[in-house]
């Protein structure tokens, strides 16, 4: 089985649709380590990718007014037990463009793999981008994943970012996202992570509401069990009139897990408003009792609640 087939098999196992590679109307980029296995650009979308000594450097341009119905698929992985993959992404959505990205980062057999992502995303006025990233790090806890993104969202633009790592081990995860939203822009960042063993989860997400009436939501859902730990920092700044932001963090702790949440809200304009809420601890007692009254065992009830918040 060649590398592409192996990666696609793993892609399928993590919920990806393998048929997208054959679809000529869908743009994609697939890379194993620092080898590009497949890529396709479509009309209105330029995808340029280059192999670098330690990874991939890619540029994606979505032309002005192009509104794609099919998502752009990205699949990055390391199939070997050891390796390094540094991804550098430069994404630009020109004015009034609209596109969804579905990204999978797959390290099925990783024992000692480092994966970094440095993304610069520019969303011009009126453009909208939905970026959904799902990770699978295998069962050994041998991945160190460090995704970083700096996102600028223009006037009337939108950015919805979702990060999911709920199957298998995490290893070490250190997310660092920084988003700035201009007038009337809408930003939503959602992260869902389940840590086991001695996994370490660090999530730092920052939304700066720089323009009037910009809106931002940082939503984090994390569960840790065994000896896993999580530190979640959600930062929102309201710097313009009418800006509205909210930081919403929920963490469930089982066994000897450790979780912390650091919501930082900062307002520099008296007409802006930023709120936060954080709930950390064991599973909610009333939720547990409700599910047990429906006939579930305590173990089944915990499972349903944890899966629910991570869904």
């Amino acid at each position: 089985m060649d590398a592409l087939e192996q990666l696609m098999q793993a892609f399928g196992n993590t919920g990806g649709d393998r048929a997208v590679l054959a679809d000529s109307s869908t743009a994609h980029l697939v890379a194993d380590g620092h080898t590009i296995l497949s890529s396709r650009a479509i009309e209105g979308v330029e995808v340029e990718a280059q192999e670098t000594p330690s990874g991939i450097s890619a540029t994606v341009r979505v032309r002005q007014g192009v509104r794609l119905t099919n998502p752009v698929h990205l699949c990055f992985g390391v199939l070997h037990k050891k390796g390094t993959q540094n991804i550098s992404m430069d994404v630009r959505l020109e004015k009034n463009a609209s596109v969804s990205f579905i990204a999978h980062c797959i390290f099925p057999d990783a024992e000692q793999v480092i994966h970094t992502m440095d993304a610069v995303i520019a969303i011009e006025d009126g453009a909208e981008m939905h970026y959904s990233e799902t990770h699978f790090h295998g069962l050994h806890g041998g991945v160190e994943a460090i995704p970083k993104a700096v996102v600028s969202v223009g006037k009337n633009g939108g950015y919805l970012g979702e990060f999911t790592l709920v199957t298998g081990r995490v290893g070490r995860l250190a997310i660092d996202y920084d988003v700035e939203a201009q007038e009337n822009a809408v930003v939503e960042l959602t992260a869902r992570v389940f840590g086991h063993g001695n996994d370490t989860i660090q999530i730092k997400e920052k939304v700066v509401l720089a323009g009037e009436n910009a809106r931002g939501l940082i939503k984090t859902r994390v569960a840790v069990e065994d000896e896993a730990s999580a530190e979640i920092t959600g930062i929102t700044e309201g710097n313009a009139a009418g800006a509205r932001g909210h930081v919403d963090c929920m963490e469930i702790v089982k066994d000897n897990g450790v979780a912390s949440a650091i919501p930082i809200v900062r307002v520099t304009n008296s007409l802006a408003k930023v709120t936060h809420e954080a709930a950390i601890g064991s599973v909610d007692k009333r939720q547990m009792e409700t599910l047990m009254l429906h006939g579930l065992t305590p173990e089944e009830a915990v499972d349903v609640i944890v899966k629910g918040i991570l869904r």
């Binding site: 859902r221 929920m250 909610d284 007692k285 009333r286 939720q287 009792e289 409700t290 599910l291 047990m292 009254l293 429906h294 006939g295 579930l296 065992t297 305590p298 009830a301 349903v304 609640i305 899966k307 629910g308 918040i309 991570l310 869904r311």
Partner: protein, 240 residues
């Protein structure tokens, strides 16, 4: 033998006596209304029967089908067929209405139960049981879920709270459907018009039963001797 038998149950928190030597029985497939004003111990009794954490009788016993259950855990009691709909049902992230109604039986078709609770399945099955639902919608979903469980004993704690007057018929439908399914119902309410749908009723005041019998009799007694006056005039039934 009654399905549920509460024998001289007391429950105390610190120095405060919430329930005091309370006796009550519920027969198989019977709708029994427990009528009482706020703060008389209705919900506490429900939590004691269901086995909620922190709710164990300080005296007396609770028998279900002749078996003492007051030391059993909540899920053990649920497995015997006891369930409860809270006065204010909790919300769940990431759990759809369809999943919620089929937690214990994945093969179940949840649609008819939603319809009985006055909700259109097409509009609700894929919605989440989270904060996007109004209080009334959440309440109806809880009632539908209890109906779907087909328990031996369903405890409804103030099922009408948060639901508009026009929707009372749906609540009554659910309670009647429970009975038709063979479930006994302990219907906790402070409204005598709700109690009137029951087969039997009891009035609770200051942690004890002060009147039992037909719903009409108990409702009339309740109306004439509202325990709202107890605080200022002492309990009309002489309870301490």
């Amino acid at each position: 033998m009654p399905l549920l038998e509460i024998k001289g149950v007391s429950f105390q928190v610190g120095a405060a006596k919430i329930l005091d030597d309370l006796c009550l029985s519920v027969e198989e497939a019977e709708v029994h209304a427990l009528l009482g004003t706020n703060g008389t111990g209705k919900s506490t009794l429900a939590y004691l029967i269901a086995g909620c954490e922190g709710y164990r009788p300080t005296a007396g016993s609770i028998l279900f089908d002749g078996r003492a259950i007051h030391t059993s855990k909540i899920h053990e009691r649920a497995q015997l067929g006891i369930t409860m709909a809270w006065q204010e049902p909790v919300r769940f992230e990431g759990i759809s209405v369809a999943q919620y109604l089929t937690l214990k039986n994945r093969a179940l078709d949840p649609a008819p139960y939603l319809e009985m609770a006055g909700l259109q399945p097409a509009r609700y099955l894929t919605r989440m049981v989270d904060r996007s639902l109004s209080g009334g919608e959440r309440k109806r979903i809880e009632l539908a879920s209890i109906l779907a469980l087909r328990p031996r004993l369903a405890i409804f704690d103030e099922p009408d709270s948060g639901i508009d007057m026009l929707s009372l018929r749906d609540i009554i439908n659910v309670i009647n459907a429970c009975k038709e399914n063979g479930s006994a119902v302990l219907l906790i309410t402070h409204r005598e018009e709700i109690a009137l749908i029951a087969d039997r009723a009891s009035q609770i005041c200051r942690g004890g039963i002060v009147c039992s019998g037909s719903p009409e009799k108990v409702a009339a007694y309740y109306k004439s001797r509202q325990c709202l006056t107890c605080d200022t005039e002492g309990c009309a039934d002489g309870r301490p």
